[in-house]
Amino acid sequence: MKILKIIITFGVLASMFFMTGCDQFENFSVNVPLTITFNESTQNSTINRVESYDLDNNSVYNEYKDRIENFEFVEARYVVTEIDPADLTGDIVLTVRRDDEDGHVLFTAERTFDPETDLNTSYDFVLTAEEISFFNSYLMATGGSKVFWGEADITNIEGSSETKEVTVKVHLLLKAKGTL
């Protein structure tokens, strides 16, 4: 009888080991980074450029998209990487929108660009808790596309040459969790 008790106890302990192991290795967590690039040249004093980014073109998202259970915003930054001429200045407004009929704004940022301090310097998009929640609900919405529309609106452009060119990048980092 004692031996039987030992066997049962051992079996229960071993089963606990197995069950814990199976559960743990089923959960994954990955970052999904993406970049929206705006490049435009003009002879005027304004630039308005709209670019889209479809998450279906993201290799990490594509690998995991059918198994994602939780998808959330982590952070976003923007940076002006190229200007011509070197003394170009202007007022930049960057906006990222949802892909819906009303083009709801997910987040936005403004900056008066100074080439001395701002070229190749990244700045955070600062989102409120409400904006993050709104963003996450878009990520988690079932069906439809997962497309972001980015808009770069640059006004009061001044510089020492007639043609002015600027490249702005918006970097987003999302995080997906799910079960394999």
Binding site: F17, F18, Q24, V60, V74, N120, L180
Partner: protein, 295 residues
């Protein structure tokens, strides 16, 4: 016994299947420079697991002996095996990110945007279980555990493992010794998936002392475990890490951290039944227990 073994084997393969599927997916998005840091704790764990439960006494019968046992071990993953400092492209500052056993995926920001590393599977302890048989004669004992070839996962990856260890009781030459002593050498392999193949060696010096139905035992062991890693990266021209721009075949050999370890344990023998439990101090601690039928 057979009825008990079948569900245990199925459970064991399920553990490996889940692990194999997860790791295979992750490797597609990790450069060779970071695969080593990410996988090393897993190499250590599987090496320790394969080497666990190889003995529960130094004594070996002079007559023919046979034993069959069911063994379960759990490797306790320390905090410093859950993160590592990844290699980063020029212009990026490296922080820390998860190993295969860690949690949240790490990232760093630099000139080309976010460089991201895979997350771990949030593992605090790694279980392993296996059937084991032993044959003894004239102071020698051969111990073996194995699972025959299986096809696991959607990709029908080949999976099997085996381990052999030969123990010799040396105290039979030194009758004056107050305890039993033995030396053991072992080798093994885990064909984990088409991408990962683990090879393992172990040397143990074992001592034990019997007190009635109980025996105290201990050992000093040296282990060497390495994995051959072969995988293909996805290739993404938009990835901020230049090493991941193109799809490439990666071939690596990664060595585990399991070197020298110390084991202490006790066993109780009741007629043909043997129950043992031991603790191994190594780079990851191992708790191991087993139930054997020995004749």
């Amino acid at each position: 016994m057979k009825k008990r073994l079948v569900p245990i084997l199925i459970a064991l393969i399920s553990v490996f299947q889940a692990l194999s599927a997860g790791v295979d997916d992750v490797l597609s998005f990790i450069s060779e420079e970071n695969a080593e840091g990410y996988l090393r704790p897993l190499v250590t764990s599987l090496g320790l697991g394969l080497n666990s439960g190889l003995y529960h006494t130094a004594a070996v019968s002079e007559k023919f002996s046979f034993g069959i046992s069911l063994r379960a071990s759990v490797m306790l993953i320390p905090e410093d095996h859950k993160s590592f400092k990844p290699s980063t492209p020029a212009g990026y500052v490296s922080g820390t990110t998860s190993t295969v056993f860690g949690g949240e995926p790490g990232y760093s920001y630099g000139p080309d945007g976010y460089v991201s590393y895979p997350g771990g599977f949030d593992v605090a302890h790694m279980p392993i279980a296996f059937p084991q048989i032993s044959l003894g004669y004239r102071g020698f004992e051969l111990t073996s555990k194995f699972i025959p070839k299986q096809e696991i996962g959607e990709g029908k990856s080949e999976f099997y493992f085996y381990s052999f260890a030969l123990k010799h009781e040396v105290s039979r030459y030194f009758r004056f010794l107050p305890l039993n002593a033995a030396l053991q050498i072992g080798t093994g392999k885990i064909k984990f998936s088409d991408q990962l193949e683990f090879n393992n060696m172990v040397f143990n010096a074992i001592a034990s002392k019997r007190f009635g139905i109980a025996t105290l035992y201990g050992g000093l062991g040296y282990q060497h475990t390495a994995v051959d890693v072969n995988y293909t990266t996805k290739g993404d021209p938009d990835n901020a890490d230049p090493l991941l721009h193109e799809s490439r075949d990666i071939n690596l050999n990664i060595r585990g951290d399991n070197g020298v370890g110390v084991t202490l344990g006790t066993m109780i023998k009741l007629t043909y039944f043997v129950l043992n439990i031991d603790y191994t101090y190594n780079s990851q601690s191992v708790l191991s227990t087993g139930l054997s039928l020995e004749f």
